[in-house]
């Protein structure tokens, strides 16, 4: 047996939707994170809710990237592919590197399985051009049954443990300590110790099987850990981190958190997560439609809550009316857009960045709104916190953008200490203004005061009609409308946001890569690969899109070549061209509903550099 030291390894678990691949993947990433490896995960769900068992459309995957040092993406292709049945091998092999190890359950490659997976012959490896030496073929189902014969379990329950055998095998392959996995299962099945015990037995069996049977043929990979950041960590998905960010901001601001929402893929997990936490006083209302969810959140904001509404692009279309009302009423509101493939219903489970211009401009009238985009699953926490802080302190609706990739993907999240986060201070109208206050009176930074119902002497009306700057009464005066339009714009423009950071060869890059939101990991990985071959490359990644950081023009004009890479037809590039004089970048645009492939980015950027 040879032990291979590697910088990073990608494992992809794949099987039928019901095979428990997400759980196996989750445990494996937790086990790896515990030894300090960096992790990044990406679940790939089928679009159908319950496709027929063993069919090509029913395959579900979970990819885990573990690294000695920081990993930024779940990886383009995998080093190890676990295929629990024939359909999984057929559909997932394309994600495997040419020298990847492939683990299959030979019990799930019978004639019927092969037929369902549309293999033409029994030589499935030959059909796909897979070298049998790379395959760890094991009668996994049989062994799971054998292992659990004495457990008293029925066959159906035994088969539910197949995923744990695969996990044990992978743990052996990566020389992982099983104790963490055992503890994970003991906690998960705390109320069903029998199930926990069975799963633990099967993991051990998978591990032992690898050790005894394949130690002569396969490699064991070892990922050492470098640059560890000590601390306490948990695995978190983007959607969960977003929900946590809202909870944290509400607590910091001392406000009730209100979520108005309507189920929509891929944003629904935020509704699920927040609905759980009633013990924190979180109020969630699942409304009759997207319109009501945004409208009710605005009503909650008027009544003094930290109001949030969560959705995806199609929901933003419907919410835009109430978002616009929030703009003119100048009330705080956070609108979460977990982007998916569009237009219309588009690709509901897939990821794109195609809502940027909708976020910036998708409303009638002059309707400026801050836009923030989260860069990674764990960054969703900070982005959500920042969105709430801006909304509350500047009395404005804020659009927080994530995407399906970031929302469903996960990373190791260093537990935040709320004391380290900046305070949130809404501009409540001071008591001494009683008697002279009018609704559109502004603070020094141009923000309207917040007078929450319940305060005597501050009764007032807000609304969708233009108001007089001084009195707050309805006004159609042309000069006043021009003034109010400018004041609303100036308020947003004046919101302080952090400077744009340049990573990589910031002093002497020949090429600046520019992106925003969920592509950060892929763009960073592409930059790293190029720099490893001696090229001078830098990355500027936008998190704050409106208002743009003050140093935007300076950064964009500093480098001889610039490429804006995004998962749309050039929306960020267009926005930057509008805001920065004479800025004509190169563009890399892809709208496939899939994350960028780092190798493709490197190839394209290198070509650009050599031109």
């Amino acid at each position: 047996m040879e032990i291979k030291e590697k910088e990073s390894v990608v494992v992809r678990f794949s099987g039928d939707s019901g095979d428990g691949m997400q759980l196996a993947g989750n445990i494996f990433s937790t086990v790896s994170a515990t030894v300090g490896n960096s992790i990044s995960t990406f679940p790939d769900y089928p679009a159908d809710i319950r496709a027929p068992q063993g069919s090509l459309t029913g395959v579900s995957g979970f990819q885990v990237h573990i690294g000695a040092d920081k990993v930024y993406t779940p990886g383009d292709q995998c080093d190890v592919l676990v295929a629990m049945n024939a359909a999984a091998l057929k559909t997932q092999y394309k994600f495997a590197k040419t020298d990847a190890a492939i683990i299959i359950d030979t019990d799930s490659f019978g004639p019927k399985d092969l037929e369902k997976a549309q293999f033409k012959t029994e030589d499935y490896l030959g059909e796909m051009g897979i070298d049998p030496d790379r395959v760890i073929a094991c009668p996994l189902t049989t062994m799971v049954k054998d292992c659990l014969t004495d457990s008293g379990m029925d066959v159906k329950s035994m088969l539910k443990c197949r995923n744990m055998f695969a996990l044990g095998l992978v743990c052996w392959l990566f020389d992982r300590d099983l104790d963490v996995a055992f503890n994970f299962l003991k906690e998960k099945f705390a109320k069903k110790p029998g199930i926990a015990e069975a799963n633990i037995k099967v993991i051990q069996a998978g591990y032992d099987y690898g050790h005894n049977t394949h130690s002569s043929v396969a490699n064991v990979y070892r990922i050492e850990t470098k640059n560890k950041v000590p601390g306490r960590y948990m695995d978190i998905t983007g959607n969960k981190a977003t929900a946590y960010g809202f909870i944290a901001a509400a607590e910091k601001a001392g406000l009730k958190l209100y979520l108005g929402s309507y189920p929509i893929t891929p944003a629904t997990d935020v509704l699920h997560e927040l609905s759980k936490h009633k013990s924190l006083g979180v109020t969630t209302v699942q409304c009759e439609d997207e319109i009501a969810s945004c409208a009710s959140a605005l009503g909650a904001s008027f009544a003094g809550a930290l109001a949030v509404t969560s959705t995806s692009g199609p929901g933003i279309c419907l919410k835009s009316e109430a978002m616009n009302l929030a703009v003119i009423m100048e009330l705080p509101l956070v609108v979460l857009d977990v982007q998916r493939g569009g237009p219309a219903t588009g690709l509901p489970t897939k990821s794109e960045q195609t809502d940027l211009l909708q976020a910036l401009f998708g409303r009638n009238g002059e309707s400026p709104m801050p836009v923030i985009a989260a860069a990674s699953p764990t960054d969703c926490f900070d982005a959500a916190y920042a969105a709430c802080k801006i909304a509350l302190e500047h009395m404005t609706p804020v659009i927080l953008m994530t995407d399906a990739f970031v929302a469903n993907g996960s990373g190791a999240f260093k537990l935040p200490n709320l004391a380290d986060y900046p305070s949130i201070n809404p501009p409540y109208v001071p008591e001494e203004l009683k008697g002279t206050w009018t609704p559109y009176m502004r603070t020094e930074n141009g923000t309207r005061y917040w007078a929450v119902p319940g305060r005597q002497g501050f009764e007032h009306i807000l609304g969708g009609l233009e108001k007089d700057d001084k009195t707050g009464a309805i006004s159609t005066n042309p000069e006043n409308h021009d003034l109010m339009t400018r004041k609303r714009q100036a308020k947003i423009d004046a919101i302080p946001v952090p400077d744009l950071e340049v990573l990589g060869d910031k002093d002497d890059a020949d090429l600046l890569i520019v992106g925003f939101g969920g592509t950060f990991g892929h763009l960073h990985a592409a930059m790293d690969e190029m720099r490893a071959t001696g090229k001078k490359v830098a990355l500027a990644h936008f998190k704050y899109i409106n208002p743009l950081p003050k140093n935007t023009a300076e950064v964009l004009k500093k480098y001889p070549k610039v490429v804006v890479a995004e998962q749309n037809m050039g929306q960020l590039a267009g926005w930057l061209r509008m805001k920065v004089d004479n800025f004509v970048p190169n563009q890399f645009n892809q709208v496939k509903g899939q994350p960028f492939v780092v190798a493709e980015l490197v190839e394209n950027f290198t070509e650009l550099l050599n031109k």
């Binding site: 963490v180 209100y258 013990s279 924190l280 409304c287 009501a292 008027f302 537990l415 002497g457 009306i461």
Partner: protein, 330 residues
Amino acid sequence: MAYTQNDFKKGQPRWCPGCGDHFFLASLHKAMAEIGVDPWNTAVISGIGCSSRLPHYMATYGMNTIHGRAAAIATGAKVANPNLTVWQVSGDGDGLAIGGNHFIHANRRNINLNMILLNNRIYGLTKGQYSPTSPRGFVSKSSPYGTVEDPFRPAELCFGARGHFFARAVATDAPGTIEILKAAYEHKGASVCEILQNCVIFNNGTHDAVYDKAGRAKNAIYLKHGEKMLFGENNEYGIVQEGFGVKAVKLGEDGYTEADVLVHDAKCEDNTLQLKLAEMEWPVALGVIRDVEAPTYDDSITAQIEEVKGQKKYHNFAELLETNDIWTVK
């Protein structure tokens, strides 16, 4: 604290002279004074339309929002701050056309809102198009040859959405209006008050049969819970059951006596007869037609939060973090 109507008045209404909204507004001011909730603990939330201008004339907190969304916005305000008394004001277009979905769901959820529906059977602010309460064949600017669709009957929609409170008044009838507004406030849950209101410009005369006192004496019945349903200038008519429905009869004719007249039961959970009453064309039923207690959404959600607080061991963000699988990197 004792209030007068002036404590709730603000500004000079801009409705057309003679518009039914003027009458209603005056009654609302009086009703609020009698109810006695502080102006600063009161929010009046409207959508868009002539009648939705109403919050501008209230000395309370208020919002004049966007077309059709008043019920949804009011829902958020009430759920976020259950201590607030929330009045939601819409016209028939705002409440039943563009806002129909929010109207039925507010009723279904039974949010503690006082929902005012000012029904003039026309779009006034856009100058005269038929509305979802205009009768079939109605001629308007957008239906020059008459409409080819049937109207909603607001009570039917409210009941269909499992509404627990429905009352009706005529805008010009101050005592009748104040009475149902107070009943709506007292009722915990979504309380729909249909106000029959005349548009002097685009649909003048639509409620003529009951718009003045003399007309109401002849053509309306004031329903009171627990009282016999008698009406007419000398109480010479009564409502009796016939088959699965109700009908108006003249006492002494066809063998009907007062003993045959039904007693109104607004508290009956089964809404069958209440619906029949609400849908009578003659006489027009006024007063509280249905008033049944049921759990409200805002109370229930507050109670659930308290219950879960008692069950769960985490009560702040730091404690929430600890509920996850955590590992330590040294």
